[in-house]
């Protein structure tokens, strides 16, 4: 099994996104390379809109993550409610 990862700029806007990832993906591992927050997870990782909205108390468009996204690995599956990164095999 391989890791997928996603990294964001370490700033205030990324915080709820990271918190939501941690809440929804108990196997995720955080690291903090200079200026970044990087989340690794074995095989798959999901970002859920609802969880983020619960954290910030307002609506959130998942595409907003583009503003602070730095890098990813894995295949992406995205709709209005969630974004999943995964390796298929």
């Amino acid at each position: 099994m391989s890791d997928v990862f996603i990294a964001f700029q370490a700033n205030e806007e990324s915080r709820p996104v990271i918190d939501a990832i941690v809440a929804d993906n108990p196997h995720a591992v955080l690291s903090h390379p200079t200026g970044l927050v990087k989340v690794n997870a074995p095989n798959a990782l999901t970002i859920r809109r609802e969880t983020i909205e619960g954290l910030i108390g307002r609506s959130f468009d998942l595409q907003q993550i583009h503003v602070n996204l730095v890098t990813i690995s894995g295949y992406i599956d995205e709709d209005d409610d969630q974004l999943t990164l995964s390796w298929k095999h």
């Binding site: 890791d3 200079t34 200026g35 970044l36 996204l69 730095v70 890098t71 992406i76």
Partner: protein
């Protein structure tokens, strides 16, 4: 009116499909093959463009919105940086050389990518692929422009940046990135995508941006950190395009697999060679170090590349042919490349130097298997000679690899004592290479690489002197004539950092009079 029931809101995927692929049509007044003449000849078979998975479904509305937001933030930082003379905050003027490498060798590549993606963004028959490519085209233009703007302030205060684009078309080491990207842009549209989106953006881009950006962050360069991360946020979209396109090509027809495999072999190796300069920057140009090239390679290439190729195995794709050699090279290439610039620093608009003892110790620690044995003794010898007033500059032009165009500095796999020489005969002539993989790239498409504009050969052909130069005149100095052709400021842009104008100015601005 109530006959019109409000239809169910379309989901992201359907909405996006209506916004992109729904726009195209099969032409009938002009044959499709004439409207899209370029995406068949490479031999790639596409049966159903609708199977193309759109990477990140951004409509123009969302694109403008988020990109506008990013730009607002970025330019606020660039402006504040200039107003506050942010360049004074960097650790040391030696650091600026990393930026020189960037503006000279990386920024023009963004430009090529911009034009290359405009080309494939026009030429793919599938609308989804076209839109993704067009968006990347305009993103890459963004990168060219934001980098040019961010580094503009440095250019006002340091040498080695003022004629970057002119140098890109002429100076010896810049033919390495130039030929790399021209090779990609002159290939067919699918090869371009495999080269740039997959091999470069997906497999290797983290090794370009992350070292530069964390290097900048650690060395007090806020401006570069900001443009770097801002550009990188587009990069993740581009990486997604890279992996989706590979998956698409491989799933469309089994006959595509060997073609794509060959491209992956070729472009992984060309990209790896191109990154030699990043390796050198990372190990030698950052006064405050982050991680070694070797560590970055292990983290971003070996780990995530390993996962990727394991995944692609189900299509019959194996890891790139040069993978093992590239992994072996991680202990050597930064040192070998630095030596090339140290040798030829008279003809390069950057500064080089011998690292301090503390820095040499760091390198010994990071490279226990190679540094003390092969590289430290010569650096200490150079230092000794320099202190005795005998700084070494090579004045004889080097032999270049005909494919990657880097001087023949690389050693045999498993034997760092021996330079690696390979050659091929093609029609009446010999062609020389730094490695098996550069040789096999040539052997596969000799008609392409016999055109290489090799800077060393061009000098000897007399094509690198300004019009009106008379090489037969008494006292003719070919090196000076070439530097004149380059439009370098001799004595300001080139030579050792020690004693340079950059060094003196920075010290004066900092009030450091020692």
């Amino acid at each position: 009116m109530d006959t019109r029931v409000t239809s169910k809101k379309l989901g992201l995927k359907e909405r996006y499909a209506a916004m992109t692929r729904g726009l195209g049509w099969e032409t009938t007044y002009q044959p499709m093959d004439k409207v899209f003449p370029y995406d068949k000849y490479e031999g790639i078979k596409i049966h159903d463009w609708d199977k193309w998975q759109d990477p990140f479904r951004l409509t123009m509305e969302a694109y403008w919105k988020y990109q506008g937001e990013k730009e607002k933030k970025l330019y606020a930082v660039i402006e504040a940086f200039a107003q506050n003379n942010g360049q004074l905050g960097v650790t040391d003027a030696r650091y600026i050389n990393a930026l020189k490498i960037f503006i000279q060798g990386v920024t023009p590549l963004e430009y090529y990518a911009h034009r290359g993606f405009a080309h494939v963004g026009r030429q793919f028959t599938g609308e989804g692929a076209r839109v993704a490519a067009q968006m990347q085209s305009v993103d890459e233009l963004r990168h060219y422009q934001t980098e040019t703007h961010a580094i503009s302030h440095y250019n006002k205060h340091f040498n080695g940046m003022h004629h970057s684009n002119h140098w890109f078309d002429r100076v010896w080491y810049l033919s390495v990135p130039k030929s790399f990207f021209e090779d990609a842009c002159t290939g067919g549209p699918f090869e371009f995508l495999t080269a740039v989106s997959f091999s470069f953006e997906y497999v290797l881009t983290n090794l370009l941006f992350v070292p530069f950006m964390s290097g900048a962050a650690n060395n007090g360069d806020m401006s570069t950190v900001t443009f770097g991360f801002s550009a990188q946020s587009d990069e993740s979209r581009h990486m997604t395009l890279g992996i989706e396109c590979i998956k698409f090509l491989l799933e469309q027809d089994p006959d595509n697999v060997p073609i794509v495999q060959r491209w992956i072999d070729k472009w992984f190796w060309r990209g790896y060679r191109l990154l030699s300069i990043v390796a050198m920057m990372q190990d030698y140009m950052l006064p405050k170090r982050v991680m070694s090239w070797k560590e970055a390679w292990e983290m971003y290439a070996e780990e995530s590349g390993g996962a990727l190729f394991k995944d692609l195995a189900r299509y019959g794709i194996r890891e790139p042919a040069g993978w093992k050699q590239a992994c072996e090279g991680k202990a050597h290439i930064s040192h070998q490349t630095w030596n090339a610039f140290y040798n030829y620093n008279a003809a390069a608009p950057i500064h080089t130097w011998v690292p301090s003892d503390e820095e040499l110790n760091w390198l010994s620690e990071k490279y226990p298997e190679s540094f003390d044995q092969y590289y430290r003794p010569r650096l200490e010898h150079f230092r000794e000679q320099q202190q005795a007033g005998n700084r070494f500059y090579s004045k004889t032009l080097p032999m270049l690899c005909n494919t990657c165009q880097i001087p023949m500095i690389f050693t045999e796999e498993g034997d760092a004592s021996q330079i690696c020489y390979r050659e091929s005969d093609y029609k009446a002539y010999k062609y020389h290479f730094c490695s098996d993989h550069c040789k096999s790239i040539f052997d596969h498409e000799p008609e392409k690489y016999v055109q290489s504009w090799l800077p060393v050969h061009q000098v000897y052909q007399g094509n690198c002197f300004k019009p009106g130069t008379d090489p037969t005149a008494e006292g003719f100095d070919p090196l000076m004539a070439v530097l004149d052709f380059y439009e370098m400021n001799v004595g300001r842009d080139n030579f050792d950092f020690e004693g340079s104008e950059d060094q003196k100015n920075f010290a004066a601005w900092k009030g450091d009079t020692k």
